[in-house]
Symmetry: C2
């Protein structure tokens, strides 16, 4: 039986999602609990890997089990054994050839910053930018990301995938009580893409870049023109759309 | 010149305030920055030590310097060199024989819990109690702590201080949007005293203890009758009253 888990985690004290020999990882912690329950190594497969320090409010991953436990009971069993920085919020059965990475239809990421004086309780949870940002300029630049583009300029040179075309459905700047959030929904994201777009928009907000140059920079397909990457603090995998209907409902709510 | 620092820190990734050979401590981090500026070992003295995992919104500590830097500039210099989980919010000169531990006149601690489903973003910042709590019973019990008492029953057996009489000015239960906070103001607190009182009040809230037995338990001066200690998650040194006037103003605001 294939079980899909909905997962939330606080990335601060993890070396990212993916299992490593050294260092605490989200995959490592969850597989360790599943392996101790199954008494045999149990592998999990995520919707997407997240980097060191990146958070998730709605990640998904699945595993296969031969144990005779109702699918929906797994959430309670697993959650009680997880450390305090991982929550398994729901579990359900999926078909045996389901693969969330390929079957899901898009994601929303949120990048949160605060602009007040240094707050140690935001450590790892929001990035700190104490400069004034021109939100209207950021919103103007954001419009140019919408639609289908080759995002070579806005992805890490380490990206191993050749096909760099992605569709951005929505890119919002939301004001918060002490800063702002960038909220971006797309068909998929290349390595570091959200953090590079965020760093770029913060440059626009500081008037170091002109919003109207955005499309030209995308079309240049040249990462060297956009060298900055925002830190992982404040980056959240906010939502994973399991199917087209979920995505359409999200976009229609606007 | 003696400089007093106002300090806030997120205790999650610290082994407490006090310097240790191994492990990251708040004292260790601040002394390391001061020592690198002075190029000679520089010791700091706090208003109170906090345990592993305990936070501070308003801790104070002082150091002596021969550097010709205006007292109020130290905050900016130090803050920029501190890690993200420590903020130095203000600095000012005090008299050369000032000692914040002896000259301060009381403290407020806050203990925060949340009662919704597991939230990884509260990891280390609020304790999780998913049981229903009878707040009126807790408030009834809280009244008995007010005034001057010997708090032997409500302090760790490891307490080295013989004189265990303290004055509690205020003990409030504040409802929050997802739980509650216990806010306690006193002349001083014994080792683990706030965490033991919190654990006791949570027992009262779960109707495992009767509010009217509280005074009898205080008067028993017997820790074995109150064996629980609440975890450090959610404990904040909220306020340090530097002098009697600050304390009186706080109490009069009510």
């Amino acid at each position: 039986m294939r079980i899909l888990m909905r997962i939330a985690y606080n990335g601060l004290n993890f070396n990212g999602w993916q299992y490593q020999e050294e260092g605490r990882t989200v995959q490592g912690e969850i597989e360790s609990v599943l392996t101790s329950i199954h008494k045999t190594f149990t592998r999990i497969h995520p919707a997407s890997r997240t980097d060191k320090g990146v958070h998730a409010r709605e990640q998904y991953a699945h595993f296969d089990t031969e144990l005779n436990i109702p699918a929906e009971k797994w959430a309670f069993i697993l959650n009680s054994k997880m450390p305090k920085d991982i929550a398994i919020t729901e579990t359900f059965q999926v078909r045996d050839d389901y693969h969330v990475r390929y079957d899901s239809k898009g994601k929303t990421y949120r990048y949160s910053i605060y602009q007040t004086s240094k707050n140690p309780f935001y450590n790892g949870l929001k990035a700190h930018i104490d400069k004034t940002l021109d939100i209207e300029a950021m919103r103007e630049a954001a419009k140019h990301f919408l639609g289908t583009h080759d995002f070579t300029s806005f992805s890490s040179a380490k990206t191993v995938i050749d096909y760099k075309v992605r569709h951005i459905y929505e890119l919002k700047i939301e004001e918060t009580n002490d800063g702002l959030d960038i909220v971006i929904t797309g068909s998929g994201f290349l390595y570091n893409m959200v953090r590079i777009i965020a760093a770029y928009l913060f440059e626009v907000g500081q008037l170091k870049r002109k919003p109207e140059d955005t499309l030209k920079l995308i079309e240049a397909k040249d990462r060297t023109q956009i060298p900055l990457t925002a830190p992982p603090d404040g980056l959240y995998l906010e939502r994973t759309f399991l199917n087209e209907q979920e995505l359409l409902e999200y976009l229609e709510e606007k």
